[in-house]
C-alpha cells in the first residue's frame, strides 16, 4: 500500500512551523529511514502521516484516499505505529497488551475472537516472545516491553508500519535482529518507515534514507548518497568522517 505526503506544513504554535513543505512517497516492499537531529520534526511527521495531528496545509494520501477523510479505526487498519515511548505502568499482561492491536478490526458485537487470539499467539511466537505471554507488562525489561509493543503493531496486520525511534532501548544484538525483521516485513510487501538516530547500522537495511533538518528535507536518496561526511556536518553540526564500502556498510572515524 502506497502512502504519500504532499507539501505538508505543520505548526504546534502559529509562529513556529515544525514541518515545512514536506513531500514523500513510500512504496510497498520498501524501507525508508528518516534521520535528523532531535527536534527536526521526525516524530511530528509520523503523527501527520497517521492522521493523529492534522497539518495546516498539504495532504496525506493512503492508497488514493485522503487520511483526513478516514476514521481513526480505518486508518489503524492500514497504518500501525511503534511509538518512541510507551508508559511502563500499564496494568495488562503481555498478551492483553498485544490484543490491543486487534482493536481496529473489532466490531461492537465481535471482539476477542478465536482468530484474534490466534494472531496474538502467532505474532508473539514470531518475535520469540511466547514466554512473556502471561507476564505483567509492567514487570518486563525495557527490551522485552519494546518487543511486546512491536508485537502489538504486528497484530494490527496493517500494510504500512511506522517506527518512531524503535531502537532506543535495544542492545546491539536485539538491534540487528530488529533491523532484520524490518527487512523481512518489507519483503513480505509491507511499507516501512522508520525514524532513528542510528546512522551506523540502520542505513544497511534501508532502501531510502531521508535527512531532515529544521522540518525540511535536507536530502533524500540512497543511504550512501545522503549520509555523507558533509551532510552530517551540515545537519548535525558535528564532524565525523564517513566512508562507504560496497554500498552496504561504512566505516566511521573522528575527523
Amino acid at each position: 500500500m502506497t502512502i504519500s505526503v504532499e507539501n505538508i506544513t505543520f505548526a504546534y504554535r502559529r509562529a513556529k512551523a515544525v514541518l515545512h513543505g514536506i513531500n514523500l512517497e513510500l512504496k510497498p516492499g520498501t524501507v525508508t529511514a528518516i534521520f535528523g537531529p532531535n527536534g527536526s520534526g521526525k516524530s511530528t511527521l509520523l503523527r501527520c502521516m497517521n492522521g493523529t495531528i492534522q497539518p495546516q496545509s498539504g495532504s496525506v494520501t493512503i492508497e488514493n484516499r485522503r487520511a483526513d477523510s478516514m476514521s481513526r479505526q480505518e486508518i489503524a487498519r492500514m497504518i500501525a505505529v511503534v511509538p518512541q515511548d510507551t508508559p511502563s505502568d500499564i496494568p495488562f499482561t503481555a498478551a492483553e497488551m498485544v490484543m490491543l492491536g486487534r482493536f481496529a478490526h473489532r466490531t461492537v458485537w465481535d471482539h476477542d475472537t478465536a482468530e484474534d487470539r490466534a494472531i496474538m499467539t502467532q505474532v508473539l511466537a514470531r518475535l520469540n516472545a511466547s514466554g512473556l505471554t502471561d507476564r505483567p507488562y509492567n514487570c518486563l525489561s525495557g527490551g522485552e516491553r519494546q518487543r511486546i509493543i512491536l508485537a502489538r503493531a504486528l497484530a494490527q496486520q496493517t500494510p504500512i508500519i511506522l517506527f518512531d525511534e524503535p531502537d532506543t532501548h535495544l542492545d546491539i544484538s536485539y538491534r540487528l535482529e530488529f533491523y532484520q525483521l524490518i527487512r523481512k516485513l518489507a519483503e513480505e510487501g509491507k511499507t516501512i518507515l522508520i525514524t532513528c538516530h542510528d546512522i551506523f547500522l540502520a542505513p544497511m537495511f534501508a532502501d531510502t534514507a531521508i535527512l531532515l533538518q529544521y522540518g525540511k528535507i535536507h536530502s533524500a536518496g540512497s543511504a550512501n548518497s545522503v549520509l555523507t561526511s558533509d551532510s552530517i556536518a551540515e545537519v548535525f553540526g558535528t564532524s565525523i568522517s564517513i566512508s562507504w564500502q560496497q554500498n552496504s556498510s561504512f566505516a566511521v572515524s573522528l575527523a
Binding site: 510507551t86 496494568p91 495488562f92 490491543l100
Partner: protein, 341 residues
C-alpha cells in the same frame, strides 16, 4: 486456574452472594421475618398473589425498594468509579472527582435551606435541585478543563478546583444552617432511609443502561489505558470515548447522589479491589464491578439499618467499614507491586 475460569467463578460467587445478601436483608429489620416466610412471600408475589398484610407491606413497600435501590446505587457508583479511573488513568480517581458530588451537595443544601415549606415539597425539591446542580457543575468542569491535548489532566484540575469551591459554599451553608444543621449533615453522609419505589424505578434503569454502555465500551476502555497517543494509533477516537465516559459518570453519580446523598468509598474501592482479582481487562472488570458495587452497598445498608436499630447509621460510614478490611486483606495477599491502573 486460568483467568477466564477464575473470572467465571468470581462472577458466580458475586451474583450468588448478592442474591443471598438481598434475601438476608429482607429478613432483617425492626420486625424479623424468618427466611422461609420471606421466600414464600416472594414466590407468591411473583405469581401475583399479594396478601397486602403487614408482612407484605414491610417486605414489598419498605424493604424491597430500599434493597434494590441500594444495589442499583452501589452498582452505579462503582461503575462510575471504574469509568473515572479509566478516564484519568488513575487508581485514585472516584466518581466524585469531576465535581458531581460537590455540585449535587450545593443543590441539595440550597433546596433544604431555601424551600422552606412542607416536608413533602422539600423531599421532592432536594433530588431535583441536587441533580440539576450536579450536572451543571460537571458541565462547567468540562468546559473549563477540555482545552489542551491532555483532556484528562485539565479535567482533573478543573474538577478539583470547582469541587473545592462548591465544598466551601456547602460549608458556608452548614455554618448558617442553625437548627437545620443535623438534617443537612445527615443528608451529606448519605443513606437510603428515604427510599421508595419511585426512587428505585428512577435509579434502576440508569444503572442497567450504564452497565450495558460500559460492556459495549469495554474494549475501547482497554485501549484507552495505553496512553492517549497510543490509543489513537490503535484506532480509538479517544476524545469521543472520554466525553462518553464523562457523561456516564455525571448522569449515574448525579442521580445516585440526588436520591441518597454522598456515599463515599464504593466508587473508589470496588473497581480497585476487583482489579486485584480479575485483572485490568475491562471485558471482565466491568460486570464484576457492577455486581461488586451492588453487593457492598446492600451489605452496608443492611448493617446501617440494623446495627443501631431503630436508629440509622449513615451508610457512608459503613461502606468503608465493610470494604476497607476486604481491600486491605487482598492487598496483603497479593504482592501488588505497581499493578494498579
Amino acid at each position: 486456574m486460568t483467568s477466564a475460569s477464575r473470572t467465571k467463578w468470581l462472577m458466580g460467587f458475586l451474583l450468588t452472594a448478592t442474591l443471598v445478601a438481598m434475601l438476608i436483608s429482607l429478613m432483617l429489620g425492626s420486625v424479623a421475618i424468618p427466611p422461609g416466610q420471606v421466600l414464600g412471600r416472594c414466590l407468591a408475589a411473583l405469581k401475583g398473589q399479594m396478601s397486602n398484610d403487614a408482612v407484605d407491606r414491610i417486605l414489598f413497600a419498605t424493604r424491597l425498594p430500599r434493597i434494590i435501590l441500594a444495589a442499583a446505587v452501589g452498582s452505579a457508583l462503582a461503575m462510575a468509579g471504574l469509568a473515572a479511573q479509566t478516564l484519568f488513568r488513575n487508581p485514585l480517581a472516584s466518581p466524585y472527582i469531576v465535581g458531581v458530588s460537590s455540585g449535587s451537595a450545593v443543590g441539595a443544601v440550597a433546596a433544604m435551606l431555601l424551600v422552606n415549606t412542607t416536608a413533602a415539597i422539600t423531599f421532592a425539591a432536594v433530588p431535583a435541585f441536587s441533580i440539576v446542580s450536579g450536572l451543571l457543575v460537571t458541565a462547567i468542569v468540562f468546559l473549563l478543563g477540555r482545552r489542551g491535548e491532555n483532556f484528562g489532566y485539565g479535567l482533573l484540575l478543573a474538577g478539583i478546583a470547582i469541587g473545592a469551591l462548591c465544598s466551601s459554599v456547602t460549608a458556608g451553608a452548614l455554618y448558617l444552617a442553625g437548627e437545620r444543621l443535623q438534617n443537612l449533615v445527615f443528608w451529606l453522609m448519605g443513606g437510603f432511609w428515604r427510599a421508595n419505589w419511585y426512587h428505585t424505578l428512577l435509579m434502576l434503569p440508569v444503572s442497567v443502561c450504564g452497565l450495558i454502555t460500559l460492556i459495549i465500551l469495554a474494549p475501547a476502555m482497554n485501549v484507552a489505558l495505553a496512553s492517549d497517543r497510543s490509543a489513537q494509533d490503535l484506532g480509538l477516537n479517544i476524545k469521543k470515548l472520554q466525553k462518553l465516559l464523562l457523561v456516564l459518570i455525571a448522569l449515574e453519580t448525579a442521580l445516585a447522589v440526588s436520591l441518597t446523598g454522598i456515599i463515599g468509598f464504593v466508587g473508589l474501592i470496588v473497581p480497585h479491589l476487583l482489579r486485584l482479582v480479575v485483572g485490568a481487562d475491562h471485558n471482565r472488570l466491568v460486570p464484576a464491578t457492577a455486581i461488586g458495587g451492588a453487593l457492598l452497598m446492600v451489605l452496608a445498608d443492611t448493617l446501617a439499618r440494623t446495627l443501631a436499630a431503630p436508629a440509622e447509621i449513615p451508610v457512608g460510614i459503613l461502606t468503608a467499614m465493610v470494604g476497607a478490611p476486604v481491600f486491605l486483606w487482598l492487598l496483603q495477599r497479593r504482592n501488588l507491586g505497581s499493578s494498579v491502573v
